[in-house]
């Protein structure tokens, strides 16, 4: 496989695509598959066969189109119509209307902000490319970044481009990607590893799942470019076993890439070899933490290791290991292709590019979105998300899952980037955005997250193992109305103790939901303190 072979595939695929008058894209993401999209594909194909139109109409399974709540979603190309809640009964009517007027009954208005305010960079293939067909990915410009990287660029040059792009880790920490790559490259060791962290454990987050299901080749291409840049020969994708569709599509994609000489021995005939193996997570939230994840890959209990040494120096088997998140790798091919400067032109001053978010909770348009960094929370929730349904009022938005915090109304105009969210006591996290309305109780929410952290605590360090339990018990006292002022103080002390003394990032961040709800919704806690204790209660304070 070389540049010319890629062009041949592109031409061939484009010729095939051009030979069809109409193409019907049917969403094949988890959400739509659950609402029966495979049956819709079958129904459409049956109808087409019945009418003898096999050479005119192509039905294609594609990745997530974003508006999961309206699924199953079908898109008609080249007309650009988008249909929602499609059923098998609609199949004949859809074929009838091809090339003519759309079916108003199931038509989605694509001029609404949900579509117009997004910017697709990481998800550009999502909903367009058939994720189970490498030729389709190549036809849309796939693997040109890899071929360019290996045949025309030096490892140093690639890292320079990543540096120029300003790309930061999309797993939540926001660590500069180029710095990590440089660290691993610098290590003088013939054996180095690359890990793709696809252990998306935050409840309410499904960005990585969608990327893996919709565009697995982009992740493989990004990893392979990274391997070439840092000099690694073995890669692992550590993916949750709870994501069977993502696992299946990754398996298919790896096999296809190997068969086409884009992965494995002597990639594109340039003498560089790199293998990728899958490792299935076994249901432990803590394995999203990089050192715990490496223990798990080694077949051990997934408990974190003390850092330093960092994985860049001593990771799997004590060898230098580069570990990045799915979304980070998925951005790499575009950066290599279009240059770091292009990527850096999107986003805010310190946070470049776009971010994929999973928008859920009490919001009209639940689904997967991609927006430039620096957009405000208000735009995300009220323009793209369509606001709060059912006549309810917005109360708070939770970002960063169990490691993040809640953000109340008065800060909705804050531009979203790593620094700003941290300032507000939350974190960017991997990208789950959960909207909470006035029917929810903030102490309940804090308890929910603490229960999660308590059950998922690996037990290795005491601050986290005991701290989560103690905090959980105190939150229960508040909910039962039995709390005292002393409990409030103990609660705050415990949070500080966990933040400062836990072994890993998960333990350190576990009190965040409690701390942020105390900061912004303190009155809800004070209201639950026993009356005899209230006399000494402090007044409500909200600090920015």
């Amino acid at each position: 496989m070389n540049k010319d072979n890629l062009s041949e595939i592109v031409q061939k695929e484009q010729a095939i695509a051009a030979s069809y008058k109409h193409t019907i894209h049917v969403c094949g993401g988890t959400g739509c598959v659950s609402s029966n999209s495979p049956a819709i594909i079958a129904a459409l194909e049956k109808e087409i066969k019945l009418r003898g139109l096999e050479n005119e109409i192509m039905v294609k399974q594609v990745g997530c189109m974003g508006l999961c709540a309206a699924g199953p979603i079908v898109s008609i190309q080249p007309d650009g119509f988008l249909y929602k809640h499609v059923t098998i009964e609609d199949a004949a009517e859809i074929i009838d209307h091809l090339g003519g007027k759309p079916i108003e009954r199931i038509l989605i208005d694509t001029t609404q902000h949900f579509f117009t305010r997004q910017r697709k960079v990481t998800l550009k293939h999502s909903g367009v490319v058939n994720p189970e067909k490498i030729e389709d990915y190549i036809a849309h410009g796939g693997y040109t970044g890899l071929v360019k990287a290996i045949t025309a660029l030096t490892p140093e040059k690639i890292i320079d481009e990543i540096k120029a792009s300003g790309l930061r880790g999309r797993g939540g920490s926001g660590f500069p990607t180029a710095t990590k790559w440089e660290l691993v490259k610098k290590q003088n060791n013939p054996m180095k590893y690359i890990i793709c962290n696809a252990d998306e454990g935050d409840p309410g987050a499904f960005m990585d799942r969608s990327i893996l299901e919709s565009d697995p080749h982009a992740v493989i291409e990004g990893m392979t470019i990274a391997a070439y840049a840092v000099g690694a020969s073995q890669g692992y994708i550590y993916v949750r076993a709870e994501y069977p569709l993502a696992v299946k599509r990754l398996r298919v994609a790896i096999r296809q890439a190997e068969r086409n000489g884009l992965l494995g021995e002597d990639i594109v005939g340039a003498g560089f070899s790199f293998n990728i193996d899958l490792r299935l997570g076994a249901g432990a939230f803590v394995c999203g933490e990089e050192t715990a994840l490496m223990n798990s890959i080694e077949g051990e209990r997934g408990t974190p290791r003390v850092r330093p040494p960092y994985p860049a120096e001593s990771g799997i088997d004590g060898k230098p290991t580069l570990i990045n998140n799915v979304e980070t790798f998925a951005n790499v091919p575009s950066i290599v292709n279009q240059g770091g400067e292009w990527f850096a032109s999107i986003g805010s001053e310190k946070s470049k590019g776009t971010k994929v978010f999973a928008l859920t909770g009490k919001i009209a348009n639940t689904g997967l979105i991609e927006v430039p960094m620096g957009i405000t929370l208000r735009e995300i929730i009220f323009d793209i998300g369509g606001g709060i349904p059912g006549g309810h009022k917005f109360k708070a938005v939770q970002t960063g899952g169990p490691s993040g915090g809640c953000i109340p109304e008065q800060f909705l105009d804050t531009p979203v980037d790593y620094e700003n969210l941290t300032k507000l006591g939350s974190i960017m996290g991997s990208g789950g955005i959960i909207v909470i309305d006035d029917t929810s109780n903030m102490i309940e929410m804090a308890k929910y997250f603490m229960e999660f952290s308590m059950e998922e605590s690996c037990g290795k360090c005491i601050p986290c193992r005991v701290g989560t339990l103690r905090i959980y018990n105190i939150l229960n006292k508040f909910l039962e109305g039995n709390a005292t002022m002393q409990d409030l103080k103990t609660l705050e002390d415990l949070c500080t103790m966990m933040q400062t003394t836990s072994l890993c990032g998960l333990g350190k961040a576990a009190p965040n939901p409690v701390i942020s709800s105390l900061r912004f919704f303190r009155q809800e806690y004070l209201d639950r303190i026993k009356t005899e204790d209230k006399e000494t209660a402090e007044p409500e304070t909200v600090t920015a």
Binding site: T30, G31, S34, S35, C68, A69, G71, E200, G201, D202, P203, G204, A205, F206, R209, A241, E242, Y243, R279, L280, G281, A282, G283, A284, F285, S296, I297, E298, G299, E300, R301, G302, A358, T360, G361, K362, T366, G367, L368, Q398, G401, G432, I434, V435, I436, S440, Y448, F449, F452, E456, C458
Partner: protein, 171 residues
């Protein structure tokens, strides 16, 4: 749960397709200790649970202490030590599902069927499990009835659906 670490050599019936799969997985990884989790996945998927005999067999073949196999198998939620009931209801307890009222379904399962999460009815008909977010948040609240994801329902609808599903299956 405890485990007796003094095991006599374990033999399994290798004509059984399930054990063949388990062995093939270990073989594929050259019986490396590293393959422990991969192997346990195959045991879990083939048998539906990982019991003490399976742990002892895997420990012996991979030359890993049984205590360690036990440690790993009980660390990860994915591996269960007991078979599940004929029918399994998995409730997603992810944040999006929680916000939309899935905690009420947990109460409902307790009241109506006497089940806490990770329990099976005494007649072995129904297992009730919870999952930490299945990633189908767009469909919240979500439950999985025998592998089929059901979403976008009101709490009352879900309760009715569970009842229908159970009576259909048993009728």
């Amino acid at each position: 749960m405890t485990i007796n670490c003094e095991h006599a050599p374990v033999e399994v019936d290798l004509t059984d397709r399930r054990w063949k799969l388990v062995r093939a997985t270990m073989q594929k990884h050259n019986f490396s200790k590293r393959a422990l989790i991969e192997t346990l996945h195959v045991v879990q998927d083939s048998f539906g649970y990982v019991d003490e005999d399976a742990m002892a067999y895997v420990a012996q073949e991979l030359h890993v202490p049984l205590s360690k196999v036990f440690g790993v198998a009980t660390f990860y939620n994915r591996f269960s030590s007991k078979p599940s009931g004929e029918h399994t209801m998995v409730l997603c307890t992810g944040t999006a599902c929680f916000v939309k009222g899935n905690d009420k379904i947990i109460e409902h399962m307790k009241e109506k069927y006497g089940l806490d999460p990770n329990q099976t009815t005494s007649d072995n008909k129904l297992s009730f499990m919870t999952a930490r977010c299945v990633g189908a948040c767009g469909l919240a609240p979500v439950m999985i009835l025998d592998g089929q994801i059901m979403g976008k329902m009101e709490v009352e609808e879900m309760e009715t659906k569970i009842e229908e599903w159970l009576s259909d299956e048993q009728g």
